[in-house]
Amino acid sequence: MATTSGGEVTIRDLSKSFTLGGRPLAVLRALNLDIRSGECLVIVGASGSGKTTLLRILAGLEAADSGGVAIDGRPVHGVGAERAVIFQEPRLLPWLTVLGNVAFGLEVRGVPKAEAEDKARFYIALVGLAEFSDAYPRQLSGGMAQRVGIARALTVQPEILLLDEPLGALDAMTKIGMQEELARIWREENVTMVMVTHDLEEAIYLADRVLILPREKGGAARLVEVELPRPRDRSESRFVRYREELLREFGLH
C-alpha cells in the first residue's frame, strides 16, 4: 500500500513570531528549506527554537507571518488531505475502539465505514496491534496508544507524515522499539517524514537530514546530512561521531 511519489515541501522566507509579555518574540526568521520527496527530515533545536511551530505551520494548524510553504508546488493554506500529523500525545477518542480510532481519519473524510475499517485493519496489523482491535484506549499502554495514533495517520495514506515529538512521552525501552518501528514504516510506506524531536540519537537513527534550528537571534539554521547505511547501528563509531557533531552544534561538547 505504498503511496506514489510526491510530498515535496518548499519553505520560502518563512517567519513567525509570537507575542510574549507584550513583546514580539521571533521564533522563525526567514527560513528557507526544501524537503525532498520521500526523505526523512528530523528537526532538532533547543526549546524555544520554533521546531514545533515549524511543524504546526507545515500541518496547516498555524499560519506564517510572512513567507510560505508549498507542497508539490501548491501553496499550503490550512490542513490538507496529503498531510497527516502524529502528536506527542496519541489523542485517541476514548469512546472508540482501536479499530474505530484508526478508521476515524478516513471516516471524517467521508469514506464508507466498512471500507475505512478494512483499511484500518491493515494498518493496525502493520503496527502490531491486530489482536487489540476491539480494545478501548484506556486499556492500552502508552506505547500501544501511540502506535494506534501512528496507524490512524497512516490509514489516510498521506504523502507527508508530520511527527511532533511522537516518542517524547515514552520510556527509554519502548522508545527504542518505536524508533525501529518508525524506520520500518517510513521505508515500507515510502512517505515523506518530517519529525520534531529533542532526542539527538533518535534524530541520527531516523534522519536522512537533520535540521538544526538556531536559538539565538541572527543564528542560521543548519542541515546535517546523515550518511549512514540502514538499518542503523547506534553503537557504531560513525553513529557516535554524528552524535558528537550534533552535540557540538548545541555547544554541549
Binding site: 494548524l61 498531510r83 502528536f87 489523542r91 477518542l93 469512546w95 476515524f104 471524517v108
Partner: protein
C-alpha cells in the same frame, strides 16, 4: 486443585465437604451471603428494628406502623387500584416535565457550550434563575398558569431544566481541545467534529445532569402535589395523613422511593450501555 490444598488447611476443607457439591460450594455460597449482607445488611437491620419496635410498642404504632401493615396497605392500594390512578397522574406530570427539560436543556446546552458569546451572555441570568428556588416561584407559576396541570408540570420542568443544562454546557466545554485539533487535521468540518468528538465527549456529563434532574423532578412533583392537587402520590401522602390513614401514607412514600430508585437505575443502565468506554469493567 493442588494449589487450593496448599492455600487451605486440608483438614478443615475435608470436613466441610460433605454436601457432595464440591469443595467450592460452601465457600461460594458464603461469599454471596457476605456480599449481600455487606451491601444490604444495614437496610435489613433498619427494617427489622422498625418492625420489632412497632410491634413491641416501643414506638407509637399509630405513627410508625409495623412494616407488614405498610406492605399490606401498599398491596391493597395497588391491587384495589386506588393508588394506580395516583401513580399514573404523577408519572404523567413528572414524565412530561422531564421530557420537556431534556428536549430544551440538551440542545440548548450543546449550543451554549459551543458558542462562547452565547454562553457569556446567558450565564448571569441562568445563575440567577438557578439559585432561585423553584418552589418559591411556584406561586408565581400558579398565578400565571392556574392551579391545574400546567403550573405543576411547569414548576417541575423549571427545576429540572437547570441541572441538565449546566451539566450539558460543562460537558461540552470539557471536551479536550487537542482532540478537536486532531479531528481538524483529518479534515473534519465543524459539524463532523461536533458529531464525532464533542457530542460523545459530553455524554458522561449529560448523564450526571440527567440523574440530578430525575431526582429533582420527583422532589418537585411531590411538593407541587402537596400544595395544590387532588390526585397524585404527593397528594396521597398528604391526604392519608389528614385522614389518619398512616399505613396508606407510608405506602405512598414507599412508592415514591421506588420510583426514584427505578428512575435512577434506568439511567445508570442506559449510561452503562452508552458509555461502555468509560466503565472500569465491561
Amino acid at each position: 486443585m493442588s494449589l487450593q490444598h496448599i492455600e487451605q488447611p486440608v483438614t478443615i476443607r475435608a470436613r466441610e465437604d460433605r454436601t457432595g457439591l464440591g469443595a467450592d460450594f460452601p465457600r461460594l455460597a458464603n461469599r454471596t451471603v457476605i456480599r449481600i449482607l455487606s451491601r444490604y445488611g444495614i437496610l435489613i437491620a433498619f427494617l427489622a428494628i422498625w418492625q420489632v419496635s412497632s410491634r413491641a410498642g416501643w414506638v407509637n404504632a399509630a405513627v410508625l406502623p409495623p412494616i407488614d401493615t405498610i406492605v399490606s396497605a401498599l398491596w391493597n392500594g395497588l391491587a384495589g387500584g386506588t393508588l394506580l390512578g395516583d401513580i399514573a397522574i404523577s408519572l404523567q406530570r413528572a414524565g412530561l416535565a422531564f421530557a420537556a427539560a431534556v428536549a430544551v436543556a440538551i440542545p440548548l446546552g450543546l449550543f451554549m457550550g459551543q458558542v462562547r458569546a452565547v454562553e457569556t451572555a446567558l450565564d448571569p441570568i441562568l445563575q440567577v434563575f438557578r439559585q432561585t428556588s423553584a418552589l418559591a416561584l411556584y406561586p408565581v407559576f400558579i398565578l400565571l398558569l392556574g392551579l391545574g396541570e400546567a403550573s405543576k408540570v411547569f414548576v417541575i420542568f423549571w427545576a429540572t431544566l437547570f441541572p441538565l443544562l449546566l451539566n450539558t454546557i460543562s460537558g461540552v466545554k470539557q471536551v479536550d481541545p487537542k482532540l478537536l485539533e486532531m479531528a481538524r487535521v483529518y479534515g473534519a468540518t465543524r459539524l463532523t467534529a461536533f458529531r464525532r468528538v464533542v457530542l460523545p465527549g459530553a455524554v458522561p456529563s449529560i448523564f450526571v445532569g440527567l440523574r440530578l434532574s430525575a431526582t429533582t423532578a420527583l422532589l418537585l412533583l411531590i411538593a407541587s402535589e402537596m400544595i395544590g392537587a387532588n390526585k397524585g402520590i404527593g397528594f396521597q401522602v398528604m391526604n392519608a395523613q389528614y385522614n389518619f390513614q398512616i399505613p396508606l401514607m407510608f405506602a405512598a412514600i414507599v412508592i415514591l422511593a421506588g420510583l426514584g430508585l427505578i428512575a435512577n437505575q434506568a439511567l445508570v443502565s442506559l449510561q452503562r450501555r452508552l458509555c461502555r468506554w468509560s466503565n472500569p469493567i465491561d
